[in-house]
């Protein structure tokens, strides 16, 4: 974990508003995400965290305000160039049944192709191999995506994002649908990507204990507003849980580690 006090901003959200038809999701949101750390967004269903992630990845267009990536308005960045800086793992993914793992991971190199033609094949190969290896999917590379289990599939989608060679990785509920073993595998991988390879990670998680344990910073959202931001040990208290989720949970510190009993 980094103790760097002078944190640089990777994303700055300025007066951001968004609505689905008449249903307002975000209203004048201001927020910064810091470089080089793992930030987790938590909040109840419908609080706008997934919407915010979609806005930050150019999948949705803001109704008002703007999002800056390292000081540049993302609306002005071309999709391809954006993909070289920011990679995303979405919550729900589909692939043609006969697509092989290696082929899928190789799609991560598309941002570097010109008119659909590879520009630097050696570099492409190197990144694909690295992505397969670090996600522990090299042994599956000739299988089709449809042959894999849920946890393996999720690792393959992460591998594709890693092949993009982007220093910022966004993940939307990467552990949903997975059993506890696969959840931990994914979270440890994410932690490792940050610590060993310097990725800036921004993710959405539902499990408060996991966000407590695997993040450097928590952003708590409710009804389209950021109600708390800071290190998990400082801000994840019973009071905040009450405020965010409207439930009273027992929060205890055991051996210097905090746990929230979600029952």
């Amino acid at each position: 974990m980094q103790n760097n006090k002078e944190k640089k901003n990777v994303f700055e959200i300025e007066n951001l508003s968004f609505a689905y038809d008449k249903h307002e999701v975000l209203n004048n949101l201001n927020l910064s995400f810091h470089e080089g750390i793992v930030t987790t967004m938590i909040g109840p269903n419908g609080c706008g965290k997934s919407t915010l992630l979609q806005l930050m990845t150019k999948n949705l267009k803001p109704a008002g305000g703007k999002i800056l990536l390292q000081g540049e308005d993302i609306a002005q960045i071309r999709q391809k160039q954006f993909a070289q800086s920011v990679a995303v793992v979405h919550q729900y993914n589909t692939a043609p049944p006969d697509l092989t793992v290696e082929k899928l991971v190789s799609y991560g190199r598309i941002p570097y192709h010109k008119m659909g033609v590879p520009f630097d094949k050696a570099k492409d190969m190197e990144r694909i191999e690295w992505a397969l290896e670090i996600t522990n999917t090299t042994k599956h590379k000739d299988k089709t995506v449809s042959q894999l289990s849920g946890g393996q599939k999720q690792r393959v989608w992460i591998a594709m994002a890693l092949a993009q060679d982007a220093k910022v990785l966004l993940l939307d509920e990467p552990t949903t649908y997975l059993d506890i073993r696969y959840q931990l595998q994914i979270l440890r991988l994410i932690r490792r990507l940050n610590e060993e390879y310097g990725f800036t990670i921004i993710m959405v998680l539902h499990d408060v204990n996991q966000s407590l344990y695997y993040s450097d910073e928590i952003v708590a959202l409710k009804a389209g507003k950021c109600i708390a931001q800071g290190s998990p040990q400082q801000i994840l208290t019973g009071e905040l849980i009450q405020k965010v989720y409207d439930v009273t949970l027992k929060v205890s510190d055991i051996d210097g580690k905090r746990f929230i009993l979600p029952v």
């Binding site: 979609q54 990845t57 150019k58 999948n59 999709q79 391809k80 160039q81 954006f82 993909a83 070289q84 990679a87 995303v88 979405h90 729900y92 993914n93 589909t94 692939a95 043609p96 049944p97 006969d98 697509l99 082929k103 799609y107 991560g108 598309i110 941002p111 659909g116 989608w157 594709m160 994002a161 993009q164």
Partner: protein, 329 residues
């Protein structure tokens, strides 16, 4: 897909096309052997072969080019709409193209040369209608088909109304209305093939993009694909291919549905192999339909589009029933 299976599929289909070609060239009152045909074409003049060359060859080649174009149009539409049931005939692109082609032929016969362009505009209009009307928080596969059927019915109706209301007096339009490939000349083929070649090359060029559209839109965007732009370019190519073949041989339903489906089973869903293979198989299927139509009730003819509808209808129902699984999701 295994490479071997892909290569074998290509070779066998090309072989089938050649045999079919010989059969089609020999269907009718004149008969020639393969050897006689070959020597008549390339070695010495042969009266029978010359007659076949002038009368049957254009029709055969037009059937092949039109079949290839329609099948590839189907592949592209399916990629754009993420819907294995999309077909230029079923969703009304072909009938939109027919209508404008017929109107042009009827009202401005002197602009005959622009029939393909008119068909293209009509096809685009129909496609745009279907796309816009079936958009509601994304494109649901079934809604596209339902809207498409309605748009198709409307354009087909307008065309029939026009045809009946004018006492079917515009014979130039008849071949488009009835979708038959009789009375075609080499001039027709030469005009058609130019557009078809351009369309097919464009289709091969965008085949990589088609693969990427098979991912979720969000995922495609995250690897730098401008999804809306890709969709638009691919749609325009698909409409061009369908419209151009409609302008010459009329609307053929189900061809753009059956061929890509079989092709996917044989060569897989990667568009770099799927697009060229569908072109080949499309040529085989339409030539087969046309030749069968010429044979079974000789000396009368059943048009290729009728054969395709009779065979394609049940096939479509079968696909519809199975579409809950796999690709359609």
């Amino acid at each position: 897909m295994e490479k071997k299976k892909i290569v074998l599929s290509y070779i066998l289909t090309a072989g089938a096309l050649l045999l079919l070609f010989l059969w089609a060239a020999n269907t009718g009152s004149l008969k020639v052997s393969a050897k006689q045909l070959f020597s008549g074409l390339f070695v010495a003049y042969d009266e029978n072969v010359a007659t076949i060359y002038d009368l049957r060859f254009p029709r055969i080649f037009i059937a092949m080019a039109g079949g290839a174009a329609t099948a590839v149009s189907g592949v592209l539409l399916q990629a754009v709409m993420k819907n294995p049931l999309a077909d230029p005939g079923i969703i009304g692109v072909s009938s939109g193209a027919s209508l404008t082609a017929v109107l042009l032929t009827a009202f401005c016969p002197s602009l005959y040369f622009f029939t393909p362009a008119a068909a293209f505009l009509g096809g685009l209009a129909a496609f745009f209608l279907v796309y816009v009307l079936s958009w509601k928080d994304g494109l649901s596969p079934l809604r596209i088909i339902l809207v498409g059927v309605a748009v198709n019915a409307m354009f087909t109706g307008l065309m029939s109304a026009f045809n009946s209301g004018t006492g079917s007096s515009y014979s130039g339009a008849a071949s488009i209305v009835n979708a038959n490939i009789t009375m075609k000349t080499w001039t027709d083929f030469k005009t058609l093939i130019g557009y078809v070649v351009v369309g097919l090359i464009a289709a091969v060029v965008v085949s990589g993009q088609c693969d990427l559209l098979a991912l979720e839109d969000k995922t495609a965007r995250s690897i730098g694909v401008s999804v809306a732009k890709s969709r638009m370019v691919i749609s325009v190519i698909a409409v061009l291919l369908a419209a151009i073949s409609t302008a010459f041989i009329g609307a053929i339903s189900f061809l753009g549905l059956i061929v890509p489906h079989i092709a996917r089973l044989l060569v897989g869903s990667s568009h770099k192999t799927l697009v060229p293979y569908s072109a080949l198989l499309g040529a085989v299927v339409l030539l087969l339909a046309d030749t069968v139509g010429r044979t079974i009730t000789a000396p009368y003819e059943i048009s290729a589009s009728v054969i395709m509808s009779v065979v394609g209808g049940p096939f479509f129902i079968l696909l519809l029933r199975r579409s809950k699984q796999g690709y359609a999701k």
